[in-house]
Amino acid sequence: GQQVMQIPQYQHVQEGEDFTTYCNSSTTLSNIQWYKQRPGGHPVFLIQLVKSGEVKKQKRLTFQFGEAKKNSSLHITATQTTDVGTYFCAGVGSARQLTFGSGTQLTVLP
């Protein structure tokens, strides 16, 4: 079945540093979504990427979808303490269901 892998599992950064998480799928995806889950909270939708090579920005967050539609990345510029949480990618494949990665837990040290 479809597998989505995410690295790193944990990332500690000083406030103001940049952060990147990477997502790789075992199969070609039709879409990829990104969610953020705050400690003790539930996943909240951030964005969806559909096209090969697509890049989208949300303020300090930059999302990229690979040319082969099998990988994606999320880059945060100049992290803030409000960025703390776990970031999940979730791929949509042929099964028409979301397959979540294992997430990257981001800690931002003040």
Binding site: H42, P43, R96, L98, S102
Partner: protein
């Protein structure tokens, strides 16, 4: 309501007990999903409803797991004869429909706060 709600928020069960977890989706949302999230892991798909029809139950780990959505709104996930490995957070999510944009994009899912199940 304003969002997806789930009850109870916490459930402690003795091994072998049956449990029922409830999900109230956003009003008007056709699609409803159940996920299981183990500690430190991403949500894992369990099952999916479109209105009252259960279209995909491929993620249910065993026949002890059963889900229903009889009137196309509220859904219940039932776990019979709970085992320790069933301990996890059970998340419910809803979306307007599964697909949008002429079938080219997948709608965002709105998650509830989850039910944390602990089986002793």
């Amino acid at each position: 309501g304003a969002g997806v709600s789930q009850s109870p928020r916490y459930k402690v069960a003795k091994r072998g007990q049956d449990v029922a977890l409830r999900c109230d989706p956003i009003s008007g949302h056709v699609s409803l999903f159940w996920y299981q999230q183990a500690l430190g892991q991403g949500p894992e798909f369990l099952t999916y409803f479109q209105n009252e029809a259960q279209l995909d139950k491929s993620g249910l780990p065993s026949d002890r797991f059963f889900a229903e959505r009889p009137e196309g709104s509220v859904s219940t996930l039932k776990i019979q004869r709970t085992q320790q490995e069933d301990s996890a957070v059970y998340l419910c999510a809803s979306s307007l429909t599964v697909l949008a944009g002429g079938g080219r994009t997948y709608n965002e899912q709105f998650f509830g706060p989850g039910t944390r199940l602990t089986v002793l």
